[in-house]
């Protein structure tokens, strides 16, 4: 049985950073991913990464912007850690080879991003996530003899010991179909977000909330799950993302009357207000009949105001996306966008070292909730979050491993999972198709748990999710093989998505106020007296999840009215 000091599930930015940090700290390390590491969804991050590296900037200003962006729900101790360590982290990335864009004097260039009071977003054209992910993978190849890689291995469960500590995982080698138990002194979950619970979404097909659901099943609490970010600029066609970098470079948002409507909603920051604010403004314009395009469901994003050469140099990827996926040359005409599901602020609750309340279990990146994003994440803060807390989790887990004995994970979980998978494959073709259930889930979530929410819709969404959970138990698959059986893994992922969706809906029903990404039309005001607290969700067998609360940590910044 493979055994490691630190076993990392997920090889996006958070996972790879954790692996390198743990190896640097001297631990024996393995990293596991259900897709080849460079296919991880971090690759899609376009715009950049925030850090107060300009000498005229100050990390406290970055921290304040983040606190304000979070609508005061972010934990300020964690935000201070993230923002103060950001410049060092970006320099580290530069040193290991990330090809950050330079200014004329050869220093790192910075671009403007939403909700930020200074230009502090470092970038590589608009392939920042890709560039960082591929450079981290270069380092992983360099560390080949120090970090074991399990590529195209699918983790199915966490394994706990009798005391409830996490001591390993069960995983399936996708290429052979073989299942195996891995022992580990520490497991770091870095398995990303759950965007596939929504349709459409900017997230890849692999973002199915596996880690969130696995930790939840093992008894770890989830936090801030109601906070789902809708990104203001997603293609009407198919939900693909147009990076905030476009607005950072100066692009305008226009309604059907050709009006720069952000004047009404955020007169100072205009298009560069926080994402929740811009998304709501757009949705309001659309709902009030000032949308563009067929059915008036869109808003124009006008990039033509950005000098063409600059667009081609710094926004190249979205020029291609416009051309290839919407047939629009964004350097010459506006493109139709609307808000779309993009990011989950919530996740597995952790402290500032990535530790979850379960011994031996860490989480970092989108799967986790530290909480640095609170009610709303600022653009270009997520890459930072993955790297800072990925590194911290890796270092902390490595340190914890030094005075520990290697546990031996029981193989009983593996047997259960083997049976579970065999039983899915054996199901008669009587129930619904997996794809139908997935579709219905995404559609209902996007209808009722989106930019504007209210009680009746949320209740209805919850009912649908409960029903789909039942139906998923008899949903059948077509593939009966073992080698690369993506079909059966899709069924397992659907189970994870349904767990995440229920946690999201229950938390959204619970929070009876409007804060950050949660806007309740039936409770349109922020209510600090009652709701300046996190909502924690715990699994309760097959019943409706349990809700509890935890305090928000304040250090230097008291809640105030949020205006952009």
């Amino acid at each position: 049985m493979p055994a490691h000091d630190v076993l990392i599930i997920g090889a996006g930015l958070a996972g790879q950073r954790a692996a390198l940090a743990a190896a640097d700290a001297g631990a024996t390390v393995a990293i596991m991913s259900k897709v080849h590491p460079v296919r991880s969804h971090s690759v899609a991050a376009a715009g950049g990464i925030n850090a107060a590296i300009n000498v005229a900037d100050d990390w406290r200003s970055h921290a304040y912007d983040t606190v304000k962006g979070s609508d005061f729900l972010g934990d300020q101790d964690a935000i201070e850690v993230m923002c103060s360590e950001a410049p060092g982290e970006v320099m580290h990335l530069e040193h290991i080879g990330v090809t950050f864009h330079r200014n004329e004097s050869g220093e790192l260039d910075l671009r403007a991003f939403g909700g930020a009071s200074a230009k502090r977003t470092a970038y590589v054209a608009d392939i920042t996530g890709q560039a960082i992910l591929h450079v981290l993978y270069e380092q992983l190849m360099k560390y080949s003899d120090r970090v074991d890689r399990y590529e195209e291995w699918f983790t199915t469960s966490l394994v706990l010991d009798d005391s409830g500590a996490c001591v390993g995982v069960v995983a399936r080698d996708i290429r052979t179909g073989a299942m195996e138990t891995f022992s580990a002194k520490n497991v770091i979950l870095a398995s990303g977000g759950a965007g596939q619970c929504f349709k459409p979404t900017t997230n890849g097909l692999i973002c199915t909330g596996d880690g969130i659901a696995q930790a939840y099943a093992a008894g770890a609490p989830l936090m801030d799950m109601e906070m789902i970010q809708y990104h203001p600029t997603c293609l009407v066609e198919n939900g693909f993302l147009i990076t905030e970098g476009a607005r950072g470079e100066g692009a305008h948002l226009l309604n059907a009357d050709g009006e720069r409507f952000m004047e009404k909603y955020a007169p100072n920051k205009m298009e560069l207000a926080s994402r929740d604010v811009v998304s709501r403004a757009e949705q309001t314009e659309i709902n009030e009949g000032r949308g563009v395009g067929p059915g008036g469901v869109g808003i124009y994003l006008d990039v033509t105001v950005v000098p063409r050469k600059r667009t081609l140099e710094a926004l190249r990827e979205i020029v291609n996306i416009g051309k290839d996926f919407a047939g629009v040359d964004i350097t010459r005409e506006p493109i139709m966008i609307r808000p779309g599901q993009h990011y989950i602020m919530g996740g597995v609750k952790t402290d500032i070292d990535g530790k979850t309340p379960l011994d031996g279990l860490y989480a970092a990146g989108e799967v986790a909730c530290v909480s640095v994003h609170g009610g709303n994440r600022l653009g270009a803060n997520s890459l930072l979050d993955t790297l800072i807390f990925g590194r911290r989790a890796g270092e902390h887990a490595a340190a914890r491993a030094t005075d520990m004995r290697m546990p031996t994970a029981t193989t009983s979980v593996q047997r259960d999972d083997e049976k579970m998978i065999a039983s899915i494959i054996d199901r008669p073709r009587e129930g619904r198709r997996i794809s139908e259930i997935k579709d219905e889930l995404g559609t209902v979530m996007n209808r009722h748990v989106a930019v504007f929410r209210e009680e009746a819709g949320l209740q209805q969404a919850h009912e649908v999710v409960r029903r789909l959970k039942e139906e998923s138990k008899t949903a059948y698959v077509d593939d009966r093989g073992t080698i690369f059986n993506q079909d059966v893994l899709g069924a397992v992922e659907l189970g994870y998505m349904l767990e995440c969706a229920e946690a999201i809906v229950v938390a959204a029903i619970e929070r009876k106020e409007s804060r950050g990404a949660q806007f309740r039309t039936d409770y349109p005001e922020r209510n600090d007296d009652e709701w300046l607290k996190h909502i924690d969700i715990n699994r309760n067998g097959d019943d409706v999840p349990q809700v509890s609360y935890s305090e928000v940590t304040f250090t230097q910044w008291q809640p105030e009215e949020r205006k952009y």
Binding site: V35, H36, V38, R39, H41, V43, A44, I53, M91, E94, H95, I96, G97, T99, F100, H101, R102, E104, G106, E107, L108, V124, A125, I127, Q130, A131, H134, V135, E138, Q139, M141, K142, E151, G204, L205, I206, F240, P294, L312, E313, R316, E317, N320, I321, D324, F325, G327, R433, S435, E436, D478, D479, R480, G481, T482, I483, F484, N485, Q486, D487
Partner: protein, 390 residues
């Protein structure tokens, strides 16, 4: 928005567990014509047969998972529109097969570790830092970073590897994607081992001089990485900048090409071989190495003469072109030689072909790529991105 239309997909299926050979499987799907082939396959998977195997995630040509061949052309399934695929189909059915040059695992899924990633690992794919490492960022030329961004744009999809002609002949050839990766370090001013990297790739008998300039990788690449151009740039740095006289006669071969065309206006085949081996001058053929290769090539030369592919006269004396034409050829050489900054083959940030002239007037643009048309190398097909219609 266009209406949903029916398309028929013919998918190459292979089930390694069945013991049967690969076979074709047809499904009719219904989608708007500008949707991608991947979306078509996903619909077939969702509606009819969940066992169809294809790697995919982003659906937006960024994760590099979905490399396949559509109607024989390598590319990304998510980056090929259904209408374009229909237009390029033989018989009105869109044919999707796994990529070539790599073993098939199942259906459209190939073993990239066995070929692609092995080759990537071959080029020491990590930065070897120039010391001392500064406290803050390395101060480097703005253009240099933009330049390597073209190779950083590679998503490791393997489409270029799929149909690389040289790799078909020589499976050990380092290949297009790994060469582009190598350029990412050779072009990176922060790397300390550029000469060592170049020497390694030039001396390797399966290294950069193995490429036969077939352009397939440029056509295949969905991200405008233009791997062949990166190979040419590696060669130029190896030969012209570092004067690496490789044992594969690669650099001498190129140099001979250049001098011969300058001298004769057209290639002088009979001189090329001895000069490539013996050295780039008229005396090259008297070098012992040249004699040896001439002797060993004699059967091939004789065959060519017998079949009328080469006339004995032109073979010995070279082609003759009119004096004026020869002068025009030589003027091109003079023009290129007179530039203070050499033309690079980087199109990453240049925009579209139509802009080339306008942007090329700024001096900085020359290095950042704006003026880098294919003109200096006579290379066609250098549109910055493979359009999804390919």
């Amino acid at each position: 928005m266009a209406e949903a239309t029916e398309f028929t997909l013919r998918l190459r299926r292979y089930d390694p567990e069945s013991g049967d050979a690969a076979y074709w499987d047809e499904h009719t799907i219904e989608l708007e014509p500008h949707r991608s082939v991947l979306e078509g396959i996903l619909q077939a998977k969702a509606r009819f047969d969940g066992s169809i195997g294809i790697r995919c995630s982003c659906r937006a040509a960024i994760c590099g998972s979905c490399g396949v061949r559509v109607n024989g052309q390598p590319g990304l399934a998510c980056h090929t529109h259904l209408d374009a695929a229909l237009a390029s189909s033989r018989d009105g059915v869109i044919e999707v097969e796994p990529m070539g040059n790599m073993p098939v695992i199942k259906d459209l899924i190939v073993d990239m570790d066995a070929v692609h990633w092995k080759k990537i690992a071959r080029v020491t794919p990590w930065l070897i830092n120039k010391e001392p490492i500064p406290e803050r960022e390395y101060i480097v030329d703005r253009e240099a970073m933009v330049d390597v961004t073209q190779s950083m744009a590679c998503i490791q999809c393997g489409a270029c590897v799929s149909d690389c002609l040289s790799m078909e002949v020589d499976p050990l050839f380092v290949g297009p994607a790994a060469s582009a990766k190598a350029y990412r370090f050779v072009g990176d001013p922060r790397d300390d081992q550029q000469r060592e990297r170049l020497t390694d790739l030039a001396q390797d008998p399966h290294g950069i001089y193995t490429c036969t300039h077939c352009f397939k990788c440029i056509d295949a690449c969905p991200k405008g990485v233009a791997p062949m151009s990166q190979i040419m740039r590696l060669r130029r740095r190896a030969g012209s900048d570092h004067h690496i006289d490789d044992r594969n006669n690669g650099h001498r071969h190129e140099a001979s090409f250049v001098t011969l065309i300058k001298g004769y206006g057209l290639l002088h085949e009979a001189e090329l071989l001895p000069r490539s081996y013996g050295g780039d001058s008229w005396f090259g053929k008297f070098h012992p190495k040249a004699g040896k290769v001439l002797m060993s090539s004699l059967p091939a030369i004789t065959k060519a003469v017998m079949r009328g592919k080469v006339k004995p006269k032109t073979a010995l004396l070279g082609h003759k072109i009119p004096k004026d034409d020869l002068k025009s050829v030589q003027r091109i050489y003079d023009k290129v030689a007179a530039r203070d900054q050499r033309l690079e083959l980087n199109l990453y940030i240049t925009g579209y072909d139509e802009d080339v002239d306008g942007a090329g007037t700024a001096p900085a643009a020359a290095t950042s790529g704006a003026a880098q048309t294919g003109a200096d190398s006579g290379q066609p097909g250098q549109s910055p991105e493979g359009s999804p219609s390919r």
